[in-house]
Symmetry: C2
């Protein structure tokens, strides 16, 4: 179980805090790098420590399919598997199976029972993910924080679709809690669960508020999720993360209901360093996004002197540029290499590029959070 | 200019030594990792130091095309460009343009003047590489050791083809030496050459012995190359490196002619750790090969307990294997990760895999050399 304490106030509704997990403490606000398939793409655990990562997120959907949650349990849990000693959070896979359903040939079908989907790996094998299975799988992986299996409200959803998603998310939350309690009260450690979980270190379950862009649905959902008295609360759906204004509005709609002693996790924030500021000021304690590493791999590197907060390293103007990516950055890429060299590596599709670019973008995000946290 | 001293004897004709270059000393025998496009694929300079690399090889042909040798000179030379402070050797590009000529649609045409070729990057732009241009380009790159531009004897060449290549290699060597002397006696630093070259740190030119599998041609070639009294001697062509027995035979054919006070570089050795033993015992001081990193990327990891010196990490039997790649290896991949995790990363085509695999294979090669060097 985790503990959260609010250690101070920031501007707006922002706050700083501490989360205690089975694998150590996390200072909030915190940006969590995304390591989908048990690896933050191109980075080693030491690289992650060097950028200041306190916790990483891995994905239940991807790991359930490969290498399999039971395999990770058999190998001693996610921490041992990846050689990562700090906290880990698992996404439940709700968002991923939702995305499969949006493909041209729908690969997923949502029913009250759960989601039937075809694996994106082979496009063929049929799987059925239920709230119970999502919880069991996350416990097998052995994360410190696990997420409820939700029906994530897709982008542009109308009121009816959003309402259905909210009801289903609530029904599924009850089933998730039941399975989480069952697996952790029958015996410890639960049979066939990850060896990475220490006694007294029960993974914390977070419920997820849904509601799309509709304040009354968001409020209803917040009331229900908060009433379950779980260790943490998240807010999700396509409306969170894609646009900082929309994200702040959604958080604002539920703010007065939120408990002071529990962390709020805004799922899928942020694309740019400035997104973090707006979501922290709005009241979020935890956030994650694939954007920093994904943009990095596409050649887009954060730079706070640029009007759009990033430069496109593929541009020819960087060919002979001996400056670091960002003159104020303290990452190992900026400390060692020039834009000219990164431009060359990117144009040559050299593997070293992806690592350096990912280190830079993650460090810029995490440092932005560190900076905001230090403002009194 | 470099200096070489023979510091002791090994079994057979093997020896240990020291090479002094503008960027420091190298203990021989030495395996040189290949960083074709100014990066040893997937590795940072710190990674290279961690595997014990004393010198790396970069390729004149590739860098001439991208980012351009003049660009590297303008950026202060190859050391500054890559942030690599230890010695660098450039291959002249003779072997690469030779390979282009072997393509189905021949991309290169060799004449007495030089080699006309089409860039492999766009398959279109026409270039003409001469001995003079190959030297000038390598000096612009700013390596510590540069190689003569040679007509490399291809695999399966008959006597006539080998003889033509030997004559042309000798004619081109004379032109290379003339250009090398010209650029370094007119003024220092030579105009438009790399800022990475320090005064008194003239890059050393090595001549290349050719001759294919024909002992009399190899002897003729050795006599001619050695008579030029250059800082070092290399032996090249397809016959070197592909098969350890053939390589040893070719070196044996010229052994009695070789100077005691100059290093012998066997170009393109070795594919397996044991190849290094046979080439060191045959009398070579320096060698390089893309195989360790290329095999690593293909899933083939050196393991001295395996009959063929390597395991195929893609095999399903490694799925739950908690052993390191090689139980006796001291590399950072073996120190931190299991075969199960590497298997997972490889199957998922995760970028971290390529770095860990390359670190392991290079460390195994370099450690083999360190071990052989320590035998009294």
């Amino acid at each position: 179980m985790i503990e959260f304490s609010d250690t101070g106030a920031l501007k707006g509704f922002g706050r700083t805090g501490q989360i205690t997990t089975p694998h150590g403490q996390i200072s909030t606000p915190v940006f969590m790098p995304v390591g989908t398939a048990a690896t933050v793409k191109s980075l080693s655990p030491l690289d992650l420590e060097s950028v200041g990562a306190q916790i990483i997120l891995v994905n239940n959907y991807h790991l359930y399919l490969r290498p399999g949650s039971e395999s990770i349990a058999a190998l001693g849990g996610i921490h041992k598997f990846m050689n990562w000693t700090l906290p880990v959070l698992t996404d439940s896979g709700g968002f991923q199976v939702q995305s499969l359903g949006k493909a041209d040939i729908a690969l997923a079908k949502i029913t009250q029972d759960g989601v039937e989907f075809r694996s994106h790996l082979d496009g063929g094998t049929l799987h059925f993910l239920t709230p119970e299975l999502a919880i069991r799988s996350q416990l097998q992986i052995g994360a410190d924080i696990i997420m409820a299996f939700d029906d994530s409200v897709p982008a542009g959803a109308d009121y009816k679709r959003a309402e259905t998603a909210v009801r289903r998310t609530h029904d599924w939350l009850v089933r998730c809690i039941k399975e989480w309690r069952r697996l952790y009260t029958t015996s410890f450690p639960p049979p066939k669960l990850g060896g990475g979980i220490k006694e007294g270190g029960t993974p914390a379950l977070f419920g997820i508020i849904q509601g799309g862009e509709f304040p009354d649905l968001l409020k209803q959902s917040a009331e229900f999720v908060i009433s379950q008295n779980l260790p943490g609360v998240a807010i999700g759906g396509a409306v969170i993360g894609s646009d900082p204004r929309q994200t702040a509005d959604a958080i604002a709609a539920v703010r007065e209901l939120l408990p002071k002693d529990k962390p709020l996790y805004a799922m899928g924030v942020g694309v740019r360093p400035s997104d973090l500021k707006s979501v922290i000021v709005a009241g979020a304690d935890m956030f994650d996004c694939v954007a920093p590493t994904r943009l990095a791999r596409a050649g887009l590197l954060y730079n706070m002197q640029s009007p759009n907060e990033r430069i496109d390293i593929s541009q020819n103007k960087f060919r002979l540029d001996t400056n670091p990516i960002d003159k104020d950055c303290d990452c190992s890429a900026c400390g060692q290499f020039t834009r000219a060299y990164l431009h060359h590596l990117f144009k040559s599709r050299e593997l070293l590029y992806y690592r350096l670019a990912s280190i830079h973008n993650l460090r810029m995000m995490i440092r932005t959070v560190e900076y905001i946290s230090s403002i009194k």
